[in-house]
């Protein structure tokens, strides 16, 4: 659609004007887009974070083997170390004493780690080995073998957590998708209705425009502008909500719940990515909604 500057100005003016003239229909359409995109946005924020957490877990999948605290520390260490060295597919073996274990544990709690000082006298943590497999996929298998070694009390491969996270994500993804598609269509329907009202209200103008030889594109443009604006404003609202909400959530998790090890994505690149996606979808919904009405009700 080639278009000159002066005409573009006119289309934007006309499109904006009818946004206000349609009042409640505009509010309804914008709300529908906003709610749809809010759900999409919250879901995306969640999904991005789960992905981030899962991949950080995957990257350092290792088997933690905790030793039996009821036997002599040295006997246990030497026996297990010897057995571990016999295994295939082991890349690295690290011994962590219970003192080091406590230090790591405290580090996770940051400033509040001092609360654990009392444990230093009476450290109940076991000694442990951290075994890194040659490939992440072999971790689980390796873990099962290590479990059978004498004096190994308990192992942790991180595999369960990963699996659970994936299960939750895929459930949320399916439910979210159904919701979003349903709401998306509602939004498109509402936008096309709003545009229809504009078209009806402008019947006379459109008739005269056709009569004096306005091109079809010229007649269509203001309606596209209107639909696009609805989609755009509808996207801005959830972006703001997510921006404020996520910043608050981050502080809440870290300060109130002290979950320092729950490693959320930083706000900045995340909100930009989400904004782009939401604005993209918003514009798509807006253009599609107006296209439906223009096709059906603008007989040109």
């Amino acid at each position: 659609m080639p278009i000159n500057k002066q005409a573009l100005g006119r289309h934007i003016r006309e499109g904006t004007r009818s946004l206000f003239r349609n009042g409640w229909m505009t509010v309804a359409s914008v709300s529908a887009v906003a709610i749809t995109l809010l759900i999409v946005g919250v879901f995306l924020t969640f999904a991005f974070n789960v992905n981030h957490i899962v991949s950080s877990i995957e990257n350092d999948v290792e088997v933690k083997a905790y030793l039996d605290v009821t036997v002599d520390r040295n006997t246990a260490k030497q026996h297990v170390e010897a057995e571990l060295k016999k295994l295939d597919g082991v890349e690295q073996i690290t011994f962590i004493t219970k003192e080091e274990g406590l230090k790591n544990f405290k580090a996770k709690f940051g400033e509040k780690g001092d609360l654990l000082n009392s444990l230093e006298k009476d450290n109940f943590l076991p000694d442990s080995f951290v075994v890194k497999a040659e490939t992440p996929q072999k971790t689980e298998e390796l873990g099962q073998k290590i479990k059978t070694i004498k004096y190994v009390k308990k192992i942790n491969t991180g595999g369960d957590t990963t699996k659970k996270l994936f299960a939750v994500t895929s459930l949320v993804r399916t439910v979210g998708l159904v919701f979003v598609i349903g709401l998306g269509f509602t939004a498109i329907f509402l936008i096309s209705n709003t545009i229809k009202i504009t078209i009806m209200a402008r019947q006379n103008e459109i008739e005269i425009m056709k009569l004096v030889g306005a091109t079809n594109n010229f007649i269509r443009w203001p309606f596209f502008v209107e639909g696009t604006l609805i989609g755009f404003v509808g996207a801005l609202i959830p972006i703001l909500i997510i921006l404020v909400g996520y910043a608050y959530l981050q502080r809440y998790i870290q300060v109130q719940l002290s979950l320092y090890f729950l490693d959320l994505l930083p706000l900045y690149p995340l909100i930009l990515q989400i904004s782009l996606i939401l604005i993209g979808i918003g514009l798509f919904i807006g253009v599609w909604g107006s296209l439906i009405s223009v096709r059906r009700f603008l007989r040109i």
Binding site: N4, I208, M209, K210, L211, G213, T215, F218
Partner: protein
């Protein structure tokens, strides 16, 4: 027009293969009873309706085979005036006329001079800022004529332009059309107004039942339709 016929989608035959040639600068009355095919004839000219058969040539356009996207360019060479004026009530006289130029993307400076010029011609330059509701019927029709003329079309089509006006006002409007015609613009006017046709002698094309029953220069209105 050669062998032009029109059958509507519901099966009504509005025009049976008619042949008409209208030269540049002519003034033509189209008369006939309601349902005779006058309106269809008019609508075919600016491609509001598409001919079912035959060929129509206007201003070098092959109207019958014109594609949708080219219709606007045919219409830019044709001014159309209706019985009910079709003015936009929220716009002033000036804006109503300017609207016709804005929507075909005319330069804003050009719009101002062209609109004032045409309002001068129809004698309404002093009412440019009024709303249509503040004008009499005859004045409103003048605005509609001004709008039809502002793009300097070579052909003006009028469908019952005096249908809503009293006799004196009708005469004023007819004088305006005569003046436009003298400036070289072709005028095709569908009308029921017997007095006008008989007093201002011009070519008359009479329709009846979808056929042209009469076509004479300096004709009379004829039958009492």
């Amino acid at each position: 027009m050669q062998n032009v016929g029109k059958t509507y989608a519901n099966g009504t035959v509005a025009l049976h293969a008619i042949n008409v040639e209208i030269g540049a600068g002519e003034f033509v009355y189209v008369v006939g009873p309601s349902g005779a095919g006058k309106s269809t004839f008019i609508k075919l000219m600016y491609r509001e309706e598409k001919a079912s058969l035959g060929e129509i040539f206007i201003n070098g356009f092959h109207v019958h085979q014109l594609q949708e996207k080219d219709i606007p360019f045919l219409r830019r060479g044709i001014g159309v005036v209706f019985q009910d004026f079709k003015l936009l009530p929220r716009l002033t006289v000036f804006e109503n006329v300017a609207f016709a130029l804005e929507v075909i993307e005319t330069d804003p400076q050009e719009i101002k001079s062209k609109v004032m010029e045409v309002l001068e011609l129809v004698g309404l330059a002093n009412k440019a800022r009024n709303l249509p509701s503040q004008l009499s019927g005859g004045e409103q029709q003048r605005v509609a004529v001004a709008r039809a003329l502002v793009n300097r079309p070579s052909l003006v089509i009028a469908d019952e332009p005096t249908g809503n006006l009293d006799p004196d006002t009708s005469d004023d409007i007819m004088n305006l059309f005569a003046e436009i015609n003298q400036n070289g613009t072709t005028v095709v006017m569908a009308t029921h107004n017997k007095e006008i046709v008989n007093s201002m002698k011009n070519r008359v094309i009479a329709f009846e039942g979808g056929h042209i029953v009469r076509d004479e220069l300096k004709g009379e209105y004829g039958y009492a339709y």
